[in-house]
Symmetry: C2
Subunit: 388 residues, 2 copies
Amino acid sequence: MTDHNPKLAKGPFDGLLVIDLTHVLNGPFGTQILADLGARVIKVEQPGHGDDTRLYGPFVNGESLYYSFTNRGKESIVLNLKDEADREIFFNMIKEADVLAENFRPGTMDKLGLSYDTLAKINPRLVYASSSGFGHTGPLANAPAYDTIIQAMSGIMMETGFVNGPATRVGTSLSDLCGGIYMFCGIASALYGRERTGQGTHVDVAMFDSTLAFLEHGLMNYVATGQSPERLGDRHPYMAPFDVFQTQDKHIAICCGNDALFAELCDALKIPELVSDERFSSNASRVKNQAELKAIIEQQLSQQNAAYWLDEIDKHRVPVAPLLGVAQAMELPQTKARNMLIDAGAVKVPGTPIKLSTYPDPTVRKGAPKLDENGTAIRQEFATAQKT
Amino acid sequence: MTDHNPKLAKGPFDGLLVIDLTHVLNGPFGTQILADLGARVIKVEQPGHGDDTRLYGPFVNGESLYYSFTNRGKESIVLNLKDEADREIFFNMIKEADVLAENFRPGTMDKLGLSYDTLAKINPRLVYASSSGFGHTGPLANAPAYDTIIQAMSGIMMETGFVNGPATRVGTSLSDLCGGIYMFCGIASALYGRERTGQGTHVDVAMFDSTLAFLEHGLMNYVATGQSPERLGDRHPYMAPFDVFQTQDKHIAICCGNDALFAELCDALKIPELVSDERFSSNASRVKNQAELKAIIEQQLSQQNAAYWLDEIDKHRVPVAPLLGVAQAMELPQTKARNMLIDAGAVKVPGTPIKLSTYPDPTVRKGAPKLDENGTAIRQEFATAQKT
């Protein structure tokens, strides 16, 4: 670990060395957060084409965005972990590392002779993080897993969509991303614990567990009733009106979290009589009669377009929003003001949502490395002769 | 901070004091992770009914699951932050705290005289975490925000659903949960940085930014083309076949991440000729012709039921899964083996996905506190006479 000067620190993890064996999406997404917050992350890639995502589209200026989105700011070295000379370099890296991260199928690291127990003997301070589909324990530990498999088996897909429509995959690789961010949470927590115990930890995070932890009302409903809930479409399970509504042209979202906001909405829609209507006078009765209420609201909304209603309802300070595509969302002044789309090498990538007042939040970051871009330098740095 | 004995530690944050002003879902979800990992979290609730979620259903054994899911293991004190005597208790707590967390609308803490600058003067080591809809900077900083508003404006809703169907809310409060977990990430990172600098930090996390960071392929598509992508239904943007398919009775998910798996699938489905068919011989051509390929696959699948195909395709080691409801997911032996549904007080709650080998992962945890349950004891502990 190098010296830490807070005035020059890029982030709270500045000076930490992370050896990153992760690949594709979930592991790299987790270690990316460490790199964004200042850690030196050395990505160890397999001989050949390296991380599979280097082959995936979309490509911009010759770079794979899939790779760049989760590997910017990292260094790259190609190592054959079955080759003795390469293993020596690798073990020398491990001796100095703070974190090792991997997302191979459980058992793979053991077969390579790189289990937690083995590496902890070399470096007892090592935080060794494993992310996998179902975790390293339990009957499904060895089951193959991709994001869609985990979404399908976790219940999240059956919760998403409309009551008379099909179960729907969340339109992003939610289980991969949840697994990755929980892996980061485990690493950051274990690093903090190590400050007081001097001891590393094996962090074992599953995409499956991570998705279960995000089920929210579906899981509440199961605990309360023993049953899976029906799909709710766009509406809130416990509040109404709290949904997406059709206007003359487009859909808008309206969220009334309490009676006062509902009264304001009724004013805006020119249906003030609803406030004292016993079908709608409390949140509980509005939830019970939400379909009837939605029909009345959409009847009013059908008389004007979305732009009119967004303005009118906002004037009453009721939370209301347009449905934006990704392009519109990314082009909002808010997105720019928060540095949420930044330059990294030759491409644009998402910024970090973790804004810390004592560290910089740069709008230009180092891009993703070319395959083995730092291989020669890292081999020299961690050669055995250097270390003895 | 109390003494730390790793042998007895409940988690890496054991001994830390967290003052938790958060309410409803997003903030409490973040501070819950600190409590799960050993921190002492004192929830400061407003006079009256306390956190609004105490009034929300569903109720089990008289407890609100909405409240219990994100407040188990915390302590509760009611403080009126506009009352001088209560403010004195509060400031005494802040002097000893490691973390303050809040998710009021930006400006509210300033109006209460509890801004970061004010509290950092009292306790420069304080990690002060704010979670809000759009963050504390930018033109939308003061816009009202609920999960559905953020989902609507971030692009995630427009990404979710089928190409000829409506935009679809993710069937969980994704933006609340993303904001909460990124707030935890910011807190854990700032605590780690503080070990070296001795200095606290203001953590400013937005549900909006956090959701943008989860957009994945939709954002890649925007960076590559300047356009929002069309909705993809259940299929993967860059791989095929990688989708949900209809069998004779139910849907199943099948994921072929490479040519070898596709060949195995074709064997299982008894359509081996597809492997050499130029429409399907590479992943790129399969993605291009995915609709045609899906029709052929579903034609084969229609001859047997889901149970048959799950078994048959699994025999070929191709990733395949049933679509499970929340109830079925929670009743899997894997879920039990991983302690993902545990006892907390009188109710069941989700376990933590963060499994750390050097700390326990209990199956029974303390429940959520009753309103002001610890008020008397905490008032005594932090009374000014005690401190001088």
